[in-house]
């Protein structure tokens, strides 16, 4: 771990200023992903601005009939919140499917969204990785692993975004509220927050340097059922091989792309009266993968069909 200096931000404005003005600075909230990566020198900030105790850890009702979730709220508290359990069960289920009890007690809403990929080669600093060292190459392509991206991958990167929570938020049409470096605010849809890898997989979101996620806003709960499903090698405490969230007529996939993947073709099919299986097939028809990942397309198709069925979202 490279040496760094640490400060606890007095307020959000000061935090944003401190990070915006210092190219080596990063926000620190729960630390469960950042410190993990810093120990491996995958992340090498020279200054940490701790935003974990800023007053963004609560949850409140919005005028629109939704919820505003503080960026610093822990995943555990969010999943435990009675309103979330009652009105947004897909979100509670997604969070509870991820990580462990200990990690969920520390990880925050904003940090969860901004967690970096679990690609083995991203984590192995002895191997080329365009995300870690732009221009060095992608070791995952041509490697023995079978669980890279099947949507929107590029020749530079086939890593996937492995957040469970973000998949549910995408299905729920949630937005993030940020404080921008100039002290202003803006709102970004969760589905538009992350980028596809293209030629610059090291750039993962559209956030500016120093831009701080202060809240996630849920619109009123959608009409219709909700369901979440995650496939993994062991029964718990493992990253997903594939995830599917369904909220009414909206469908999102996880661990299939560089970002939480909104399954718009599946949604369109459902809106047109397709069956769950037809909707799932419509989405994966657009999937692209080499031989090693071919099985993943089938897995996602089957999982999506079953989850749409569970949510009761098909005719």
């Amino acid at each position: 771990m490279k040496p760094f200096t640490y400060e606890r931000a007095a307020d959000a404005k000061a935090a944003v200023k401190a990070v915006a003005e210092n190219p080596g600075a990063k926000f620190l909230a729960g630390g469960t992903n950042l410190l993990d990566l810093m120990k491996l020198e995958i992340e090498t900030p020279t200054h940490l601005v701790d935003v974990g105790r800023l007053p963004f850890a609560g949850i409140e009702a919005t005028d629109e009939g939704g919820l505003r979730i503080g960026g610093a709220m822990t995943n555990a508290k969010l999943a435990a919140h009675p309103k979330v359990r009652e009105l947004y069960p897909v979100l509670a289920r997604a969070i509870l499917a991820g990580a462990s009890g200990q990690l969920r007690n520390k990880a925050t809403t904003a940090g969860n969204l901004l967690q970096r990929t679990r690609c083995d080669y991203f984590y192995d600093t002895a191997k080329p990785c365009n995300k870690r060292e732009p221009g060095s190459g992608c070791s995952a392509i041509g490697g023995p692993g079978g669980y890279g991206a099947i949507f929107g991958a590029s020749e530079a990167c086939i890593a996937t975004h492995t957040s469970d929570m973000a998949v549910a938020l995408t299905a729920l049409d949630a937005s993030v509220e940020t404080m921008t470096p100039d002290g202003g605010a803006r709102t970004i849809k969760v589905e538009a927050l992350h980028r596809l890898p293209g030629a610059s997989p090291q750039v993962e979101t559209d956030l500016a340097a120093g831009e701080l996620i202060t809240a996630v806003v849920l619109p009123p709960p959608p009409a219709g059922g909700q369901a979440y499903a995650k496939v993994r090698d062991r029964a718990s405490y493992a990253h997903g091989l594939a995830m599917v969230a369904v909220a009414g007529g909206r469908v999102a996939f996880g661990a299939v792309a560089h970002k939480p993947w909104r399954a718009e073709k599946a949604e369109a099919a459902l809106a047109a009266g397709a069956s769950a299986a037809e909707a799932a097939s419509a989405e994966v028809a657009g999937a692209d993968a080499d031989d090693r990942r071919a099985h993943k397309i089938a897995l996602v198709r089957r999982l999506a069909a079953a989850t749409i069925e569970d949510a009761g979202s098909a005719r």
Binding site: G142, P144, R234, S236, A238, R302
Partner: protein, 754 residues
Amino acid sequence: MTSVRDWAEPNPVTENRGGVIGKGVDRYEGALKVTGTAPYAYDTVAPSPPAIGVLVTATIPRGRVTSVDTAAAEAAPGVQLVWTHLNVPAQAPRGTRANPRSQRASNPALGSDRVEYYGQSVAFVVADTFENARAAAELVKVAYAAEPAVVDFMASFDQATLPPDEEDVHIGDFHGAFAAAPVTIDETYFSPIQNHVQMEPCATIAWWEGDKVTVHTSIQMVKGGQHALAETLAIPSSDVHLLTRYIGGGFGGKGQPYDDLILSALAARALKRPVKVAYTRQQMFHGTIHRPAVDMRVRLGAEPNGRLTAFAVEATTHCARAATFTEHAANFSRNLYAAPNRLTGHRLVRMDLPHAGPMRAPGEAPGMLSLECAMDELAEKLGLDPIELRIRNEPDIDPETGKPFSIRQLVRCMTEGAQRFGWERRNPVPGQVRDGRWMVGMGMAAAIRGNFLLPAKAGVRIDAGGIITLRQGMTDIGTGTYTILAQITAETLGVPLGHVRVEIGDSDFPPAPGSGGQFGAATAGSAAFEAGMNLRRALTELAVGDPNSPLYGGPAEYVTFENGVIAIENRSETLAALVGRAAPDGIYVEGSISPAADARDYSQHTYGAHFAEVGVNQVTGEVRLRKMFGVFAAGRILNAKTAKSQITGGMIWGVGTALTEVNAVDPRFGSFVNQDMAEYLAPVHADIVDLDAMFLDEADDKANPMGIKGVGELGIAGAGAAIANAIYNATGVRLRDYPMTPDKVLAGLMAKGL
């Protein structure tokens, strides 16, 4: 020399008058472990604050270090030394022994510019703090000249040769019998590289006083570690004091010393202060041994009635060029089922991967994954129940050597297990049972694992207060050694358990071979028993020869020891009174055990049967355990509680073997793809559902004076095959490539149109 006949005589342990043997007493060191106060190696408080060492490891599988830039690391804050092969202090050449009786030869760290495997240590940094050492280690820049490396096992079978000093075993005419057999199976099974993933990474703290070094380290073999360090540093082993009191898991992976031991000692000498070194979790995967992959071809030929006529198990495995090791995956099959015509053997590919070595039940663990599935496949072909097929091939004598079995309760394990598990609920037609999206099935497998007794010593002392202390250069890697040594000592000397202290894990103590091969309890325990018997004799002499003892002049053969009291009929006194008066400095005696001259006249094993019920998610191919039960026969059980923990732990390793555990090799780099605990998937709590086990009553009087056998490795033998067979019963999909991950299962389901 001892004969097994001598062991058949009744003795305090087999008579168990105090009732301590077999009782499920709490773990001796349990209170320390549940309070976090048991000091593991890295927890040890040194005489002065230690400096911290961190390893830098190779990123090529084979070649040469051409240059190392250490300037930045040396200039980094707090750094006290940076070593590479160019400036590491002199060590004895690799493989040499100044003392021919050393159990291990010199094994220098950073010994040359050669890189023999990915993850080999190539530099070493010591700093004042862990934070500074870790950061400085990242600043060491190593340049390599890579050389072609053989790292792809499946692509290297053409390089396979017979292992050293080994021939295939042919009995009868396998090929002829197989060709003539009316029903045959010819299938190949694959078990991948697996990793021990002990919770405690390897660690050592070392300090010197004059010419003597003290090391607290995490190692399963006390003498092996002591000798390796002495030989490497070219000092007498009497100058090495090695302690390993608490070990955070071993499973075979800590049967040998690693660079933490050597480099901490060297650095502590150079810096004249204590130094401690721990492997990172990532470094453990490449830097310590793994279980090698095994490709196993099984051919079975049978009569329609199920009797095997032709039997072949051939295993191809791999090891590192510089560290010969053979995973003897076919050995177990030589003692399991009757068949007149047999072929078993091994092939070995020498590769440029990290070192292969023993991991819990080496041989049986991967080996049984093949035959125990093949028997299931054969049973189905014959229309027989898998248990019935095994019973029809139950041998009366060892099928290969013709020797009598010391005792063999395999059939009882299967029949008892079938009844307790509810095997009759199994539908023999696969793919018939549903529970929502889950396809449900059951499978079983037999278990066999050899039993061993090695030479060992123990010392036992009674003090003036009547407290008895057993001392032995033995280890407890979580196996319950402390506890069973206390029980044996208490029962042998007829004292309450609370009067016994156990001190192990110290090279100053009488040597025992350590923990491994499930020989620990029998070996160390028998030596403790013999030491206890010698102390009984000494106490008897003391009492009957002491005019102040009520037992004075009494007949020695009538002396009894019970509840801390020595007596001849109604003449008695407490041991504390006797020793306090007649030997106030206490009495210390030693005892030893060695294999009986005629022990090898018997085929001696532990046995078991596994029963598993799994659910297979028809949508995703995920497999989840629903129930598992095992019945085992492993001699007299010393402690019902710790023995059961050992055996269920082994079964759970079998679940991991079947479903999740694999170190995939990336042949482009010669390294493992997964090298942390988020990606190497040892089972978590949620994976283990309704899992239980029981032991049959047994005493094996050919094993040792106490009739006990090992339980540490038996539980994994065959367990994974029971899971694989259950997956088949659930789905009709027969997988032969472990682990049976969702991608493989789903491909099978889809191929069947599911």
